[in-house]
């Protein structure tokens, strides 16, 4: 399969990418690792006429402590998240979830910014970043703005990013090395989650239980009120609208959410 023809330009910086997006308009797309975009282009589900390559822009791939948060450059690859000692010590949920993305070859190319911007509700990193209550830093024609992750995922493969904006940085609260877990249910290696649960610091986020990754609000409220992990996990599917597909119907996904949440909470040290 071969993508439709397009023009290709390399951005020299993220600001340059913003300028190029403004210049080329709606038919332009950013590409970094390309592991979500290129498969869509090969299937002709996407046919941008201009690709703006940001993969090699300088100083956009990093993981560093910045006060109370770990700042992650949007161009940081999954393999570099997995290998990051800073993340292991300060925000290990992100490193752990990154290790569940695809396979080693995919993790060598894909980036956290690409995964979040693509916003697949079944994907690992959007769910982990939502559970982490991170803040996303975005560059656009009007400068820099911050979007709390709770406001970022707008719908199925849809985000709060405006067409001319570029995700630049993910700011993840420091949690220390313990008290987190990522529990993913798949039928095949190297696949998207049928359902997955990310938990850290009393927050719980679910993958593939709605059109976006969602917080398990009833579970979190029960935990805050002193419920046991089992009692709180039983509420995990409350208010969710999971899709029905060849892998699972809504009822089964709801069941998975409660079981995986209980396992996740227990693994995170909540009895």
């Amino acid at each position: 399969m071969i993508p439709a023809s397009f023009d290709y330009v390399r951005a020299g910086s993220l600001d340059d990418a913003v300028a190029l997006l403004a210049e080329h308009g709606d038919d332009a797309k950013l590409i970094a690792g390309g592991h979500s975009l290129l498969p869509m282009m090969k299937l002709r589900l996407a046919f941008p006429t201009v690709l703006i390559d940001i993969r090699t822009v300088p100083d956009a791939a990093y993981v560093r402590v910045d006060g109370d948060v770990v700042a992650i450059g949007a161009l940081t690859r999954h393999c570099d998240l997995v290998a990051s000692d800073v993340l292991r010590a300060e925000a290990p949920l992100i490193a752990t979830a990154a290790g569940f993305v695809g396979d080693p070859q995919i993790r060598h190319r894909g980036t956290i910014g690409g995964s979040l911007s693509h916003a697949d509700p079944a994907a690992d990193l959007p769910t982990a970043v939502l559970a982490s209550d991170a803040v996303l830093v975005v560059l656009g024609p009007d400068g820099r703005r911050e979007i709390p992750v709770a406001d970022f995922f707008a719908g199925y493969f849809e985000t709060a990013l405006a067409p001319g904006e570029v995700l630049a940085e993910i700011r993840v609260p420091r949690t220390g090395p313990n008290g987190y877990h990522y529990e993913k249910f798949v039928r095949r290696a190297n696949d998207w989650a049928i359902v997955a649960v990310a938990t850290v610091a009393g927050r719980v986020a679910l993958a593939n239980m709605a059109a976006t990754p969602v917080r398990a609000a009833a579970t979190e409220a029960a935990l805050a009120a002193g419920a046991s992990a089992a009692e709180a996990a039983a509420l995990a599917a409350e208010g969710t609208q999971p899709i029905q597909d060849m892998h699972a119907n809504q009822e089964y996904r709801g069941h998975l959410a409660t079981v995986l949440t209980r396992r996740g909470l227990n693994a995170a040290g909540i009895a």
Partner: protein, 160 residues
């Protein structure tokens, strides 16, 4: 668009369409047919090659995104670390352990295994299985492939 790469140690410059995939560049422009295209959807790993020493699935990389990079295919692997028989230790181990039957997945399996051993020279069996999760084989049931990877790790450690 102008593309300058080093493929299997040789520097080359080609004029390519931006939409040309790395797998097609290697096979059709460079004439290196060892890199197979299997699923063409980033799933099967048959097209695995190394870009700057790291394994990637060349069906999901634009050739123009490897500008300035060092690309190694199965044809060039042996030259990076030739054993006594002229093969790379991973290739020798796949032969010795019967790590293939029809052979279609083998170039990708070999490149993925070589990539794993570059990052983790002494993997456990479980680590080998997880590291090869992006490479599908319909013939072997994987047991001999895993044995080959472990044998390659041993022989490479022994010849350090």
């Amino acid at each position: 668009m102008r593309l300058s790469t080093t493929v299997n140690g040789s520097t080359r410059t080609d004029d390519v369409e931006p939409r040309l995939l790395l797998a097609h560049y290697l096979r059709d422009v460079c004439g290196l047919k060892g890199t197979n295209i299997g699923c063409d959807t980033t799933s099967c790993g048959a097209c695995t090659v190394h870009v700057d020493g790291e394994s990637v699935k060349s069906c999901t990389v634009l050739a123009v995104q490897t500008d300035g990079s060092d690309v190694t295919t199965v044809e060039g692997l042996a030259a990076t670390r030739p054993g006594p028989d002229g093969m790379h230790p991973v290739q020798a181990a796949f032969r010795a352990e019967h790590g293939l039957q029809c052979g279609f997945c083998t170039p990708g399996m070999v490149m993925a295994t070589a990539g794993l051993l570059a990052e983790n020279p002494k993997p456990t069996e479980r680590e080998v299985r997880e590291a090869l999760e992006g490479n599908l084989c319909r013939c072997t049931g994987y047991h001999n492939i895993v044995r080959a990877a472990l044998a390659a790790a041993e022989s490479m450690a022994a010849s350090e």
